[in-house]
Subunit: 253 residues, 2 copies
């Protein structure tokens, strides 16, 4: 994994009617986003969830591929008729869609020649110039087409193969984050947070999120930055106004 000392970003494109309809709760966004930041210094800046419709996949792949350093797609690379991600990506980039030699070999050896039926063979079809993301769980590989990395939809399979994406990514600056939990309401500290956010506009993102704990109301103040030094400064400023305002702090460890 090469290093690049600047911000590297990504989008996630979730392909699947089952997520859109509300039948299935997506779990891949939090997993991929956390993994990318912690391990690769890549920040996810947009997520889209779209149906299994070819023209929709094509237009979204093109759009996101042009806007971000990387695009991660999940879903739609299995053996059934509704798995159309590979074909759609080939069309989006005008690359020939067909059997990928190495993927074919991997799947043939996994299933054995006799059990390697048409449905399973379909999983070896993709943009023919793609590079593979190996899959230790169920053999069927993911693939990389230009700056688009395509993964399956099943969370446990993604978890098992995500490390194999690393070799295709350039490492950016990791975003560090810190949280201070204050027993107060947002409106009591909104001015203070605004002053801090304005002072650190370029380096730190300050967010506030209400929480409820044993009947008490609180606010988690989360601040994120690629600079640890700036986080220390912001940390001091928050503790300082909390002290002045006599706001209690919830310590979790």
């Amino acid at each position: 994994m090469k290093k690049k000392n600047k911000k590297v970003n990504a989008a996630i494109l979730i392909i699947g009617n089952e997520i859109l309809s509300g039948r299935t709760q997506d779990k891949n966004v939090t997993f991929i986003s956390n993994w990318l930041n912690l391990n690769c210094g890549v920040t996810v800046q947009e997520v889209r969830i779209i149906p299994d419709v070819e023209k929709t996949i094509i237009s979204n792949v093109r759009n996101l591929s042009g806007k971000f350093n990387y695009v991660f797609t999940t879903g739609g690379i299995g053996p059934t008729h509704d798995d159309i991600t590979a074909k759609s990506i080939a069309k989006a980039f005008k690359i020939k869609y067909g059997f990928h030699k190495e993927a074919f070999k991997i799947l043939e050896s996994y299933y054995g020649k006799k059990k390697f039926n048409d449905g399973r063979k379909k999983m070896a079809k993709m943009p023919i110039s793609s590079r593979l993301i190996y899959n230790p769980s169920s053999a069927a590989p993911g693939f990389v087409t230009k700056n688009v990395l395509s993964l399956p939809g099943v969370p446990s399979i993604i978890n098992s193969m995500i490390e194999n994406c690393k070799r295709y990514l350039i490492k950016g600056l990791k975003v560090h984050s810190k949280t201070i939990n204050l027993f107060t309401v947002e409106s009591n500290i909104s001015k203070n947070l605004e002053v801090i956010q304005n002072k650190y506009q370029k380096n730190v993102d300050v967010g506030s999120y209400p929480f409820f704990r044993l009947g008490k109301i609180g606010v988690s103040v989360v601040f994120r930055s690629t600079s640890k030094k700036k986080l220390v400064e912001v940390n001091k400023k928050i503790l300082s106004f909390a002290k002045t305002k006599k706001i209690k702090i919830l310590k979790l460890n």
Copy 2:
């Protein structure tokens, strides 16, 4: 709620750095999507998750508002500096942003004049011509601007106020769904499903999703349609090929 005997669609726009970064697991997509389909016959066709950045919110609101019958936004309508949804929507539609008289009264009476500070007053600021979505949990109302319905980000508050969206929606055709759980692998039934999907291309969506249960592999075949009659037909066809192929069915009730 007026009725319209055709398909009505919607998009969901999740606004919030905390979801994108993976810190917080989104729960609003499944809730809103299920509620819309079951109660209003509205189908969610796209979801986007974007950061708290004004120009990003503006371009996404404009884009989705033009593409779908309704857009639901969640997040960014609280009292702090990172709550910029209302202002951004006003800019997207070039509507004046300022105190909404009714919202101001609701909040003033909820907090009492003494405790109605600047942060809280901010929650009464929105596109001034918006209509309100009443909030029984924490008083601060959501609002409707053109075809965009803006809700807060906290799931429990959304759950408590979602019914108040109904009056602003035209009712479409409900999508019914049925699931058959087969103890087989996808590649064994992919041809059969494809034949069925091709026959019912215009009326029924057929999807297949692998599952694992007590060490056994299975496939949930989910089929969805606005026509109950077509669902009955597809149901028969699936049971028929399952019988021919001697595939066991998992009955959950």
